[in-house]
């Protein structure tokens, strides 16, 4: 197992208001980034440690992309400035070193997903979902009629919706604050994969609208979702009402981000007989691949988001 190690900042660029794309490469004497690029599965995350000695705890960020570029492996994280730590991170210049640890946790179950895959993302949950979308697309064999549809919710102006367009059959976006009427706004009509933007609402408003307009095919569907907790909760409820299996990537306050402190627990339904999507498709719930931990007890229906998650079947969670 790789110890926490340094990585070198290649780029730390503001791509939307207060949203940064951080690209990392191996720094001299460390193969942390190479290792992450080789191993990372969509839905996994990376612990980022700040250089300030006063902010000790890891900042967890979902892996937004891994690239095997000509100049060497690259790890891409996308983050929003929300507090002191991310504010400091945004000041780090290319060439600077930061310490990271990863890949952490368990990602999405990428197969089998059914005929209609819905990728439901909110805000900073969208970039990590793009990584999952790319992997799903890459694994489809020619002639596979699986359809990938993205439903993306933003607070303000969209970002990464174009990237989603590269791998999805259709992309629908919605913004909570953009002014205008609740009509499909045909932006980017010229592009092959037209991202639509319905203004004023949440991603669940968007889903409801698309269903009532007959634009969303929910037969043999499954959902992959990443975003803020209230959105995930709404996605879980909607998925349940439609009988669609959903995988959600959760957020939690973390002390260690690797399973040692028991700070990040989430309440789950008692583990035994959960008829989950993942279960019916032959995988067993909550046995993480690396699991040699004997400390868990069946009477404690709690799991560590950092180690057993961050991706869970939605119906396993006590919302």
């Amino acid at each position: 197992m790789r110890e926490r190690a340094t990585a070198s900042i290649v780029e730390n660029l503001e791509i939307a208001s207060g949203v940064y794309r951080l690209t990392l490469a191996d720094s001299r004497g460390s193969d942390m980034v190479s290792g992450i690029v080789a191993e990372a599965a969509p839905g996994q995350f990376v612990n980022v440690y700040l250089n300030s000695a006063s902010m000790l705890l890891p900042r967890p960020f979902g892996i937004s992309d891994v690239v095997a570029s000509e100049r060497g492996p690259r790890l891409v994280l996308v983050y929003a400035v929300v507090g002191a730590g991310t504010a400091e991170l945004s000041t780090y210049a290319p060439g600077a070193a930061i310490r990271i640890l990863g890949p952490q946790g368990n990602g999405y179950e990428l197969a089998p997903l059914g005929k209609n895959v819905l990728l439901i993302g909110g805000g900073l949950g969208i970039p990590p979902l793009l990584f999952a979308t790319r992997r799903i697309r890459e694994r489809l064999t020619p002639g596979d009629d699986t359809r990938l549809t993205a439903l993306l919710g933003y607070r303000d102006a969209p970002y990464y919706s174009g990237g989603m367009g590269l791998y999805c059959d259709e992309v629908f976006s919605i913004s909570e604050t953009a002014s205008g009427i609740g009509e499909y706004k045909k932006e980017h009509e010229h592009k092959k994969n037209r991202p639509f933007c319905v203004v004023n609402g949440t991603v669940m408003d968007l889903a409801a609208r698309l269903v009532s307009d007959g634009r969303l095919d929910l037969t043999d569907a499954s959902i992959l979702s990443c975003g803020p907790m209230p959105m995930l909760c709404a996605v879980a409820e909607w998925a349940k009402s439609k009988g669609i299996p959903a995988q959600v990537s959760l957020e939690a306050r973390m002390g260690c981000g690797y399973g040692a402190c028991v700070g990040c627990t989430i309440e789950v339904k008692p583990a035994e007989p959960i008829a989950s999507a993942a279960n019916t498709k032959g995988t067993v719930l909550f046995v993480s691949p690396s699991d040699e931990s004997l400390t868990e007890h069946p009477s404690i229906a709690q799991r560590k988001v950092c180690k057993d998650g961050p991706v869970f079947p939605a119906e396993a969670i006590v919302w």
Partner: protein, 302 residues
Amino acid sequence: MDDSYRVNICGVEWRNPVTTAAGTFAVAESGKYFDPAELGAVTTKGVSAEPWAGNPTPRIAETPSGMLNAVGLENPGVDAYIAGDLRVLKDRGATVISNVAGHSEDEYVYVCRRLDATDTDMLELNVSCPNVREGGMAFGTDADTLARLVGKVRAVTDKPLIVKLSPNVTDITKLAAAAERAGADALSLINTLLGMRIDTRTGKPILANITGGLSGPAIRPVAVRMVYEVARSVSVPVVGMGGIMTGEDALEFLLAGASAVAVGTAALIDPAAPVRVARELGELISNPQVAAAIDAARVRTA
């Protein structure tokens, strides 16, 4: 790892003076980053008679050079611990200190009795957890209550018994003396300091439990002072902890009179920190002047 700085803590040989601090080491997860047998000892998470679910989340808040935790001793219960973590650690050749939690005297006694029948090397009585409503710190802040508890536990086990003291008291030497008189073979300190953070945007406490235990470098000066006070007031060995991030930090505790140290919060931030601290400390101690200064500190406090 270099074995030239072994220590003997009340009859148990440690290959170096460094252990993990309770609650910051998990067998499977930490074990990916270092071999527990490389440390002087590993101290496991507090274990109670029955499984405890711990406190609601958020359980963690960052503070300047430190953190608050209100995990509330979530643990699978002593039976699962004995069959699981303890077994794995002993099979791997680690020296194990089992940290014991309880809501009542009877619970502490029960857990210690169960552990007495195992091959755990030492017991550490956590009478200083600020995050559980009954028990925990309540046993560690009143000298008479503490003495009665330690006496009862002493009566059911011959294992070397460490009593872990709370810093949330006016005069820690009174508690130290009470524990020693009641039969403690060693003392460890400090547990976390009771603290609180409020989110100024929402006006609400960040921790669901409202208060939590402060740990990390922010508490180190308090810990060094308390180790210094206790080490010179008792004759049993002291295991010092509180914000140790480096070998030099560990050395500060040995110079204050501690016989060994524990690494806690540092391991949450850097999983391999305990073995790194042991290595750095070993390098420092290999300097004869430093070794002599540590010996002098022990003599002065003995």
